[in-house]
């Protein structure tokens, strides 16, 4: 029964021993995902099992991926941009009076880009755009090594920790270049103009160390900020 099904699928050959390993285990082995104990038992098994050794060898040969496919896949972000273009255009008209001269992007090698997901569609979003309650945001940053925190400031001037949620700046050991942060936040129901401020400092800090006076973000010394402003409407 099993044999016929394997033949039908043309997949991995049948195991010949209890300790035979799956393709997933072999993939995880190559990717360095196995814990040391599991890794050594897999290596020991491979020493003695021709079936698994042959399978490991077969999996390690993969046809080169057409570079065009890589470009297309990674270029999806460009296509998402195009989807968002009409919105961005409308927003750029608004931006002129929304944030007079307060665009601090790219200062000190620091930059903040927001990817916004709504109904399954992802749009790269910049300052001045219209966001909606329920939108999910992810962040892509450029930043030198140090400590990072993204602070939100809602329409009422209330400050909140966006990334990380506990309000303690996260250490970064290497320079980040267009790195997508693993965090995602969902916008709440409150409406109006909101600001997202990426703060970078050379030393550890927390949300409590930041202040806002006359719309200006006050940071500890030697820190940089990069900011994004959006309007939240229904």
């Amino acid at each position: 029964m099993d044999e016929r099904a394997r033949e039908l699928f043309g997949g991995a050959p049948a195991p010949i021993a209890e300790s035979c390993v799956s393709d997933l285990t072999l993939d995880r082995r190559v990717l360095g995902e196995l814990e040391s104990e599991e890794a050594s038992s897999v290596e020991a098994h491979l020493e003695s099992c021709t079936r698994c050794r042959a399978r490991a060898a077969a999996l390690s040969v993969h046809p080169a991926l057409d570079p065009a496919v890589r470009r297309i896949v990674l270029g999806r972000r460009t296509r998402w941009l195009r989807i968002g273009a009409p919105l961005a255009l409308a927003a750029s008209l608004a931006i002129a009076f929304l944030i007079p001269g307060s665009d601090t992007r790219r200062k000190g090698g620091l930059s903040l880009t927001v990817y916004r997901e709504r109904h399954g569609e992802v749009v790269r979003s910049g300052s001045g755009e219209i966001f909606h309650p329920g939108d999910r945001l992810r962040f892509e940053v450029d930043a030198p090594r140090g400590y990072l925190l993204i602070m939100g400031i809602d329409a009422g001037g209330e400050r909140y920790a966006c990334v990380p949620l506990d309000g303690r700046a996260r250490p970064v050991q290497d320079d980040l270049k267009k790195v997508l942060l693993p965090d995602a936040v969902k916008l709440d129901e409150s409406l109006g103009r909101e600001r997202l401020v990426l703060v970078h400092c050379p030393a550890p800090f927390a949300l409590g160390a930041l202040d806002v006076r006359d719309h200006r973000v006050i940071t500890p010394p030697d820190c940089d900020t990069s900011e994004l402003v959006f309007e939240k409407t229904r």
Binding site: M1, D2, R4, A5, R6, L8, F9, G10, G11, A12, P13, A14, P15, C20, V21, S22, D23, L24, T25, D27, R28, L31, E33, L34, E35, R55, L59, H62, L65, D66, V69, R70, I72, V73, L74, R76, R77, Y115, E117, G120, V122, R136, R138, V141, R170, P171, V172, Q173, D174, L176, K177, K178, V179, L180, L181, P182, D183, A184
Partner: protein, 164 residues
Amino acid sequence: LLFGVNLAELFDRYSPLVMRRATAILGDEDEAKDVLQDVFLKVFVQERFEERGRTAAWLYRITTTSCLNRIRDSGRRRALRERHLDRTSSVSPEMERVLLVRQILSEIEEREAQAAIYVYVDGMSHREAAEMIGVSKRTIGNLLERFHRAADARLGAKKEVEHG
């Protein structure tokens, strides 16, 4: 990097695995490329990335779902068949096999199809497949049994057609 995921790096590291599995499941490289795109789009909008050491299993799951979604789309099946028809209006035995597998997978429950793929394509044990789907090891046995019944019915029907 202490935190953060670079999409290009993630793609370079994991795309061979996604592409290989999608090709094995779908039996068609062009469609596998589409799945590759689907998978990485999903990766990009996920709430969070899978914890360290579990990325491969997580991508296995997303790839399986994405392949099954395509397989269930009957329009695609027809298009695939037409693309592989040669001048004598017949398809190769290999394509016959692929079309048959896809037919069966499209006619059974999602979890039955997942179990069959993990065990028969990826060579997983029932315990591993159970972990992937989030069911008990015993359930995998039941899911595979239902898969076998569907396969038998389909193979039986095919024989009848062949032998008139």
